[in-house]
């Protein structure tokens, strides 16, 4: 029996589909349902974990500050020995079970698909919006496509990744903070205009 579709975490934010300045260069904020799996290597098993993820998902686990991409899966560095695997939303449970079996004794596998929320911020002014909420240098010279970081965005912890040169950023935030972050993004984007969408599934570029 397949589970019913998950509900959006933004029902509580009574926001219209668009807003802010009408003449501006509007940004798009999309909620992107995704399967998110946190993997943390057992003591001394980092190499085994890297080999196993390469075998299972064809993903080469990235170094700090980077992300890796293979097909419709991606991996982000989270902490020493720890990564976040991002995969399409459909049938996440099966992927969790598969990884848990493949990584038994190698890594802790924890499903965070409901615990984190992916917001994709895209448009010409996406960097200008983030400059109001986050203190990292997101200039293309220092934060290129594929770069990732965990930092405060709008006062809450986010793992972010530059998906493409639109630019489009994925902001991965604790689900209980998702509405807060959305409201912060909308306020910061007010001068440019904004629109909200719900993407089918996060498509890593």
């Amino acid at each position: 029996m397949s589970a019913p579709e998950r509900r959006s975490r933004f029902g509580g934010a009574s926001l219209p589909a668009r807003g802010g300045a009408a003449q501006g260069d509007a940004v798009t904020i999309a909620e992107c349902p995704a399967t998110l799996i946190q993997v943390t290597a057992r003591k001394g098993r980092q190499d085994a974990l890297a080999a196993a993820t390469l075998k299972e998902l064809a993903l080469a686990l990235p170094a700090p500050g980077a992300s890796a991409l293979a097909g419709d899966c991606s991996a982000l560095w989270l902490q020493p020995g720890g990564w976040l695997i991002q995969a399409p939303a459909n049938d996440g449970n099966a992927l969790v079970r598969r990884l848990a079996a493949a990584l038994d004794g190698i890594a802790a596998v924890v499903d965070q698909s409901h615990g984190r929320c992916v917001l994709r911020l895209s448009g010409q002014q996406a960097r200008a919006v983030l400059a109001k909420l986050c203190r990292l240098d997101l200039h293309p010279r220092s934060f290129a496509v594929g770069a990732s970081a965990t930092t405060l965005v709008g006062h809450v912890a986010c793992t972010m990744r530059l998906v493409d040169e639109t630019p489009a950023f994925d902001l991965i935030v604790g689900a209980s903070y998702a509405t807060w972050l959305l409201e912060e993004l909308v306020e910061a984007a007010d001068a440019f205009g904004w629109q909200l969408t719900r993407a089918g599934a996060a498509q890593p570029a």
């Binding site: 019913p4 965070q112 807060w180």
Partner: protein, 973 residues
């Protein structure tokens, strides 16, 4: 009326007219004017009254160094006190009022203070209003505040928005004069990311006062605008230089407008993290102290130049220029251009190389003279030989030399160095990655400054890792100057000011020295010299020079007081940005948030979370709702959103060992599929947090902790895993947001869940108290825990949070026939006090396991966090306050949290305190939990709960903390 608009010149738009009002009178100006230039153009001369003596004051400067021309700007909620007219860009409909005058600017009754001036010198208030002490708050302070206040703050909500913006760059250039423009261009040409900040709305600094260099200014700006990695920020004042090359600024994005445009902010708080910084902050002209140097009509020579060339305004008709240096000769030329009737240039030096050019224009140049007095539109000139001359003048231009603006360099940590030729301080060796350029380090003149700036910009780019770019044209080199001769004070009869905004005179400085406040920092605080909003830009060094003379020491040794942020006043609203009101701090919402809202929950902040406190029905008051919800649980079944509990997934071969050390009680003995209550201690032996931990597999646990401590517990675990027991192989992560958790509690909770739970036998035999299992509800995989906080038969169901509402609604549908009620935090609190569970008020950072009645839980053997320090005598003392229950002996009486327990009313010694109170639905009276000395031994005793705050004293009986079901039978039913 002596000021007037000139027929040509200035960076103003003469085609357009703007109307504005000052003190209720309507005037006209042009775009490009400041309020100050527009008022001068309209012949207004008297613009304010001074702080202490209420002396009439005019416009002294053309920038942020203005001490006198302060106004209350705008109206209603947008009212801004103490705005400097010289920095207020004119806009259509501007409204401004003068300050510190009563009843009107022309007739100010407080000016009597000026006559009593001899009596209210420095330190007057300290000396006079000392006693009787009781008078201070009620009499003296209100009196002084009424007499002294400048503008008034507004207590209405600011209708405008502010925001923060964080930027990074390779080279930050502060200031856009000749040095700043050249530095930005040189750095930009290298390909470096450059940000150029200019506090003014036009770029150019001193170049704006020099028509001969306007072409170079425009050409350089155009070149900068064509560089994609150069960002130019006008109206942006850099206010502070902090560690690690972090600088702060305010961008006055909308201050030049009546109201910000829709969706735009009024001001923007900016931070810059720069690899290299070039400080091209220019210099400020300094005052000379002489009697009457504060009168309307006195203006800095550079400001007069600015009014003529920048704004096309003549600030008078007959002028005397008083100088000790060559810079004022440019002012003389400008006054001649502006067709002044008479110009006298009084130079205190013996000669100047600039004199011939000026004399050729018919200007009366006199050497070796000083201004001994100004007043009544007459200047008293005194020659070295004692001869004096009185000259009519409606404008007295003063130049005592130029002080480099070293505020930011000094804040960055660089020590200041005395520069003999300019008689001022310049930045010394850099401490951070910064360099000063141009006038900011004593290199004056557009040609010299531009060369200095270009070198600094190129050097900064190279230091940031770039190769120098192509060279570009610079202004011609400047002519050599005749050296300045320092002149700080002209001694004569009358008040000579060193700080106009705070009304500090040369005599005040000497008084401070006589009374022992001879250090520059002491003299500053004693006299308030340098402490006004202009921060001593005008007369700071003059005051220091007067002090140096009094001390008989060189000025270099006396020095200046410390420079601190902010370089000019900053609106608190700009620093707060968007973080006000509901955006003050992050808000967490559970996945059931919308359901709670749809069902009328009264939501309240609980830490960062918003949680339902109760669900009132029509006609119910708070207690009605709480009692109804609690009765549903005690009598049948209720459901509560407990998703906010901290949840931590713990895995690894050493997970059980880790828990054995982390908690005071053992977990390695816990069977798979069971949960256990755990108590965590801090290293110092005080109780830290509690919760249930379930064993999901041999190497897999799920910890829960209190909502408030979810973050701190994770940090606590990280600390021990990384630093104390790095040998243990454990992995853990927060899964708080992954799971929606709901408590289903009450005698009919089993019947309710049995209707919807699939794949799990919930019978008491198969699934006893503290059992844990997996199941599905409405097709959703869930975890079920048989744990209870209410004291009733109860379960907690955890569902993936995205499916939380589906599961919640399925359980409510199943419980409908039993009258299931959602219950909030208040009913939960009521029931936990009835049951005697310790919570936040008892786990208050002062209590031990034994204090909470959990001493027997602590393992007898093995190392545990908190064991060693928990054995200290004071913590092991058996008569420490212990957790007890209390009830009023008169059931009609209420209890108060925070009340003290005493043996009898009026007894001075507190035996303990009341930590939690509620109205019990089972006992039909107020009950409470308390921490009481020798608590266990006092059960059955009568004490008094006193609350002096409320004037209450209630007789109470000491009981077990477990007001209901002390045998714990219900949870096992």
């Amino acid at each position: 009326m002596s000021g007037r608009r000139l027929p040509a010149g200035g960076h103003i738009d003469r085609e357009r007219h703007l109307s504005f009002s000052f003190d209720g009178r309507r005037f006209f100006g042009h775009p490009g004017d400041t309020l100050a230039s527009a008022l001068i153009a309209n012949g207004v001369r008297l613009v304010g009254r001074s702080f202490k003596y209420h002396r009439p004051r005019g416009i002294m400067t053309a920038g942020p160094d203005e001490p006198s021309a302060l106004v209350e700007l705008r109206e209603g909620a947008r009212t801004e006190p103490n705005s400097k007219m010289t920095e207020v860009a004119l806009y259509e409909g501007l409204v401004a009022r003068s300050q510190n005058r009563w009843p009107s600017l022309g007739l100010d009754l407080m000016a009597v203070n000026s006559l009593a001036g001899k009596l209210i010198g420095a330190g007057f208030y300290y000396k006079t209003f000392m006693w009787p002490k009781a008078f201070w708050e009620k009499v003296y302070e209100p009196l002084i505040r009424r007499a002294a206040g400048l503008g008034r703050a507004v207590d209405r909500r600011d209708p405008d928005h502010y925001e923060a913006l964080h930027a990074h760059c390779d080279v930050l250039v502060v200031g856009s004069g000749a040095a700043g423009l050249a530095a930005a261009r040189a750095a930009g040409a290298s390909g470096a990311r450059v940000i150029l900040c200019e506090r003014d709305d036009l770029l150019g600094g001193g170049l704006l006062l020099d028509p001969a260099h306007d072409a170079w200014r425009r050409q350089t700006i155009a070149a900068l605008e064509a560089m994609p990695e150069v960002e130019i920020l006008p109206r942006t004042n850099v206010f502070g230089y902090y560690d690690h090359n972090l600088l702060g600024a305010i961008e006055h994005a909308g201050d030049h407008l009546a109201e910000p445009a829709p969706h735009q902010v009024r001001q923007r708080y900016r931070t810059f993290r720069a690899t290299e910084v070039v400080l091209a902050t220019g210099a400020s002209e300094r005052l000379i102290a002489f009697p009457g140097n504060d009168k309307p009509g006195v203006m800095m020579a550079g400001a007069a130049l600015a009014y003529i060339h920048r704004f096309g305004v003549a600030p008078g008709e007959r002028a005397v220029i008083f100088t000790n240096n060559d810079s004022a000769y440019a002012t003389a030329h400008a006054l001649a251009d502006a067709q002044f009737d008479r110009i006298v240039l009084a130079d205190s030096r013996a000669a100047s190389a600039c004199a011939d050019d000026v004399k050729a224009r018919g200007i009366d140049v006199r050497f070796g003279v000083e201004v001994a007095h100004y007043g009544g539109d007459r200047v008293t000139l005194r020659a070295r030989n004692g001869a004096s001359d009185r000259i009519p003048a409606d404008l007295l231009c003063v130049s005592g030399g130029w002080n480099p603006n070293v505020h930011l360099a000094s804040q960055s940590g660089a020590r200041l160095r005395w520069h003999e030729q300019i008689a001022s301080f310049v930045p010394g060796e850099p401490v951070q990655a910064e360099r000063s350029a141009g006038a900011a380090r004593g290199v004056f003149g557009p040609g010299n400054a531009a060369r200095d700036g270009a070198e600094a910009g190129a050097a900064a780019a190279i230091a940031a890792g770039f190769k120098p770019g192509a060279a570009f044209a610079l202004p011609d080199a400047d002519r050599p100057e005749t050296p300045l001769e320092p002149l700080w004070e002209v001694r004569a009869q009358g008040k000579a000011f060193v700080d106009l905004q705070n009304d500090v005179t040369t005599e005040d400085i000497r008084l401070a020295h006589r009374e022992g406040f001879s250090h520059i920092e002491h003299a500053k605080r004693y006299t308030t010299h340098n402490m006004a909003t202009d921060q001593g830009k005008l007369g700071g060094l003059v005051g220091a020079a007067v002090l140096a003379e009094a001390r008989g020491e060189p000025l270099e040794k006396v020095g200046l007081p410390t420079f601190r942020p902010y370089t000019s006043p900053v609106t608190i609203g700009a620093l707060a940005g968007r973080a006000i009101g509901e955006h003050f701090q992050p808000v967490r919402r559970t996945s059931l948030h919308d359901w709670h809202l749809r069902h009328g929950a009264a939501m309240q902040p609980s830490g960062a979370w918003l949680r339902p406190f109760y669900y009132p029905k029509p006609g119910e008051d708070i207690w009605d709702a709480i009692f109804r919800e609690a009765r549903a649980v005690r009598g049948s079944v209720g459901i509560c959103d407990v998703s906010t509990l901290g949840k931590i997934d713990l895995q690894g071969p050493d997970a059980a060992t880790f828990l054995d050390r982390l908690y005071a009680n053992a977990f390695s003995t816990l069977a798979i599929g069971k949960a256990r209550y755990g108590l965590m201690l801090r290293e110092d032996g005080i109780a830290f947090d509690d919760g249930t931990t379930a064993r999901l597999g041999p190497e897999h646990f799920l910890l829960t902790c209190t909502t408030a401590n979810a973050g701190p517990v994770l940090e606590h675990m990280e600390f021990y895993a990384q630093t104390v027991w790095p040998d243990l192989d454990v992995q853990f992560s927060s899964v708080t947001d992954q799971w929606a958790q709901m408590a289903v509690a009450g005698p009919r909770s089993r019947l309710t869940l049995q209707k919807v739970v699939a794949g799990l036998d919930l019978s008491n035999e198969a699934f006893p108290f503290m059992a844990v299992g997996e199941a599905t509800i409405a097709g959703i995989p869930v975890r079920v825990f048989r744990i209870s906080f209410s004291g009733e038969l109860a379960y907690e169901v955890a569902a993936p949070s995205g499916d939380g509402e589906t599961v919640w609604e399925a359980i409510i549908a199943a419980g409908e026939e039993f009258g299931i009620a959602p219950y909030g935090l208040e009913a939960m609190g009521l029931m936990r006090i009835e049951k005697g569970h310790a919570a936040g008020p008892e786990l208050n950072g002062q209590t031990t396991a034994a204090d909470l009645g959990m001493g027997r839980m602590v393992k007898k053997a093995g190392d545990v966090v908190g064991r060693v320090l928990g054995a200290r005598p004071a913590l092991a003392n058996p008569s420490r306050p212990r957790l007890v229950g209390i009830r009023p002996t008169d059931p009609a009486k209420r209890l108060r949290g925070g009340a003290h327990l005493v043996s009898e009313p009026g007894a001075g010694k507190s035996l303990g305190w009341v930590s939690s109170v509620t109205q019990s639905i089972e006992l039909s009276q107020w009950i409470g939990l308390a921490m009481l000395e020798d608590g266990a031994a006092r059960q059955g005793q009568l004490l008094h709960a006193v609350s002096p705050l409320h004037g209450e004293s209630v007789e109470v009986i000491v009981t077990s903390p477990h007001h209901i079901d002390p045998e714990n039978a219900r949870v096992r039913a």
